[in-house]
């Protein structure tokens, strides 16, 4: 069925027919779990359990269990929050922005990338939630709910409140977008199954029958959702950057933050997509769907966004010097040569220097090199947030209050908890949900080649 084009590289290799697409992707949903998957799940669940001890300690004893102090009031937790939210951005970029740009290669990776978005945003949301200390009454502080103090409303002038709206809208819209895409594929699995599986996937498929009229509406809904999700994803990290940019802390108070944060988010998100997809394609034998071509294209996005981030770092320095503000200048010199010099230079190496290796075609089409560099980028992006947050705070306006920040075991444990959750959720998704969007891959199977049967 697949017609190969003399001009364009096919998006799906191996001469797959429509039937093959269904079989290859539904196979892992229907088959018994593999040993590798069970092992992965055991490790993730173990991490989740160990991490949950730290989470329980935080909730039981309070955030005094963390390494925060009066000078450094934000550190490890907010670093993790921004890091996880940033990772989430790639999923929406692939599913929404690339849909608007008619990039057909997104069809093989959008499902998994969106799942990653949803799990990453859950991990991110955990940190501000537990930072409230008493999250069970947090709704009163975070949402405009009537209360007995007046009603004394939440402060709509605060970027922290904007974040509540941005993150929750982002999460729920992403979830809906992802689920709408899953419905036709659940119907495919339903129609192949019998017994209990038919009942479960029947309910999940919402009675989808693939009628032309429903497909017409589905396409319309996808397009509008993509159009809504595109400004939404840009707004989310813009608002996250406002948490810093609207304050008057040297090193934070800069207008470059929104574009700089958005580029950094896409950069780290694509790195995480690559880390996950390289493993997934291997474990589930999906090399014909997620090809070297896909990996190369994602690596190109990484070079572009990585270079934008690099330029942003340099611009920040220039502006600190050019502003003539002594506090601002000191904040940046302290970043580079102060006690946190190692964090700064880790960030520079991982984010600005090493991704430039992708200019070489040999490296960006090598799976091993891509895998290693994708991890390096994520380490670098964690350090970026750490550098921005901690180095700007630890030497504040009163030199007698200058301190260092040291994370406690609880800090590390809560971070581990989110890793455990993220990988457990992703592994469960990869086993029980079709990991590639079958319907959309089928839709591009033929048109991705120049020749069509008439």
């Amino acid at each position: 069925m697949q017609v190969t084009s003399p001009v364009r590289e096919p998006l799906v290799t191996g001469g797959k027919t429509y039937k093959d697409v269904t079989n290859d992707i539904a196979r892992q949903v229907e088959g018994k779990p593999t040993v590798g998957w069970l092992l992965g799940l055991a490790v993730s669940l173990g991490t989740l359990l160990i991490g949950s001890l730290a989470l329980v300690a935080t909730l039981w004893e309070g955030i005094g269990m963390w390494g925060l102090n009066k000078t450094v009031g934000w550190a490890w937790d907010i670093t993790n929050f921004v890091w996880w939210v940033g990772i989430g951005h790639a999923g929406t970029l692939i599913s929404a922005v690339l849909l608007l740009f008619r990039q057909k290669w997104r069809t093989s990776i959008n499902r998994a990338a969106e799942a990653m978005t949803i799990f990453a945003v859950i991990c991110a949301a955990l940190f501000p939630l537990i930072h409230m200390g008493r999250p069970w009454i947090g709704a009163i502080w975070a949402l405009p709910l009537p209360n007995t103090y007046g009603s004394l409303w939440v402060n709509f002038n605060s970027p922290l409140l904007w974040d509540v709206f941005a993150i929750s809208t982002y999460f729920s819209v992403s979830l809906v977008f992802w689920y709408i895409g899953l419905i036709p594929d659940f119907a495919t699995i339903r129609d192949r199954a019998t017994g209990l599986r038919k009942t479960i996937y029947g309910a999940l498929s919402f009675g989808w029958d693939g009628a032309a009229r429903t497909w017409m509406r589905y396409e319309s809904v996808s397009l509008i959702l993509a159009g809504l999700a595109t400004p939404l994803v840009l707004s989310v990290h813009t608002i996250v950057s406002f948490d810093f940019a609207t304050s008057v802390i040297p090193g934070w108070h800069t207008t470059i933050f929104p574009p700089y944060f958005v580029a950094g988010a896409i950069f780290s998100g694509f790195a995480m997509v690559l880390t996950l997809m390289i493993v997934t394609r291997k474990v589930f034998k999906l090399e014909d769907y997620i090809t070297i071509g896909h990996i190369e294209l994602m690596n190109i996005v990484i070079i572009i966004t990585g270079s934008i981030v690099g330029i942003a770092y340099i611009t920040e320095f220039f502006m600190a010097w050019y502003s003539g503000v002594a506090a601002e200048q000191y904040a940046f010199v302290n970043r580079m040569f102060g006690p946190y010099w190692w964090a700064y230079w880790s960030m520079m190496t991982c984010n600005v220097i090493s991704p430039q290796l992708f200019w070489f075609k040999k490296i960006r089409t090598s799976i091993a090199a891509t895998f290693i560099l994708s991890l390096v980028v994520n380490i670098g992006m964690w350090f970026e947030r750490f550098v921005i947050i901690v180095t700007s705070l630890h030497r504040d306006f009163l030199p007698s209050s200058w301190v260092m920040f040291y994370p406690t075991i609880t800090d590390v444990g809560v971070y581990l908890f989110t890793f455990g959750f993220f990988f457990t959720a992703f592994l469960l998704f990869a086993k029980f949900f079709p990991v590639i969007n079958m319907a959309e891959v089928k839709a591009v199977l033929k048109s991705s080649s120049e020749k069509t049967i008439k």
Binding site: F156, W162, G207, D209, G210, L232, I239, I453
Partner: protein, 176 residues
Amino acid sequence: MERDKHFILGIFDDEDILLSAVKEVRAAGVKIHEVFSPYPVHGLDEELGYTRSRLPIAAFLFGLLGTTLALTMQFYMMKFDWPMIIGGKDHAAFPDFIPVTFELTVLLAAFGMVGVFMISSNLKPWAQPRIFDLRSTDDKHVMAIDIASNGSVDLEQIKSALKASGATEVNSKSFE
């Protein structure tokens, strides 16, 4: 014969053959009940003569509702119900209200549109769809023709029109 019970099904392998078949079958004076496909086929809705979906209009209206609600809420709370000076700004610090307004616009537009889509397409967890051919969610396009609504057209004529237009199989299907 009762309507919406007895159907003739044309099974197609290829989307382009399907598109030309829809045109030919309709030209032969046969009314098509519906076409079921495993993936969206571009141009199929126009060939079937469906009018464009009005879901984008629903999205716009829900978005407008979101904008209105968000602005009303923020102005009411910050300007009228409990005015407070924050950061030396006016009570009604309009630029500060834009982020939440934007987010609620997107939220209501997305959920409103998806809700309308679910209702109009009868998508719900307990829905029991009528499946004409199990392969229509796998690799085949299934064209369903309601026999009763084509009363004036001869049965054999429908079948031969389907065959002639490129259907690989012609079956019949009845529902209780």
